[in-house]
Amino acid sequence: MSVASMIGQALVLFGTFFYVLSSLGLIRMPDVYNRMQTATKSATLGSLGVIIGTGIWAIGEVESMSWLPKTVVIAVFLLLTNPISAHTLIRAAYNKGIPLWEGSVVDKYKDARESLDRVEEIKELLQSNAQEEGER
């Protein structure tokens, strides 16, 4: 067994371990936001390990260097698109009105929305004041 095979197998084992951890988090966590957070992070790391590890393993097993660039392309694509789909799903869940777990203590999205509303109110107040000044 060559060195490339050993490094590749170690990376693939690392990645599959993180796959199991991510699906364990999917079962264990209390609400949809926590589940999405644990599962997406560890599944992305796990697929990086599995896919690039397969490319390195193929150098020793198939003895061809053409696998590694293709696997790097797939891994970079997953690394770019997984956070986007997770973000879109969670925003859909929030706008649909699914409540947070009762143990959650901070809701920054709600705070940001409230402060944006207050900015709008202050802008309207300033505009009406300016109009009164102009009439006088």
């Binding site: 693939v12 199991v20 999917l26 697929s47 599995v50 696998w67 789909s85």
Partner: protein
């Protein structure tokens, strides 16, 4: 190639555990999150199958599957939000 069987077994365990959430999940978004994780796992599985059969052409299948799964999840999420 004996080591490959262990990795395929671990991937099967992960897929079964996320299938539990697909069947159990209280809301629709829960099921959708589990399906998203399963598509990520399936992409890794397809890359491993390419090594199992020693055909580099199967890597392209994995790439196209990743693209289609991404578009599908985005479309479902926009539909749930009411924007589609």
């Amino acid at each position: 190639m004996n080591g490959l069987n262990i990795y395929l077994l671990l991937i099967a365990v992960a897929t079964l555990l996320s299938m539990y959430r697909v069947f159990r999940g209280p809301t629709t978004v829960d099921r959708l999150v589990a399906v998203d994780i399963m598509t990520t796992i399936t992409t890794g599985l397809m890359v491993l199958f390419a090594l199992y059969y020693r055909r580099a052409i199967f890597l392209d299948v994995a790439l196209v599957y990743a693209i289609l799964a991404f578009v599908g999840v985005i479309a479902f999420a926009r539909y749930m939000e009411g924007g589609l």
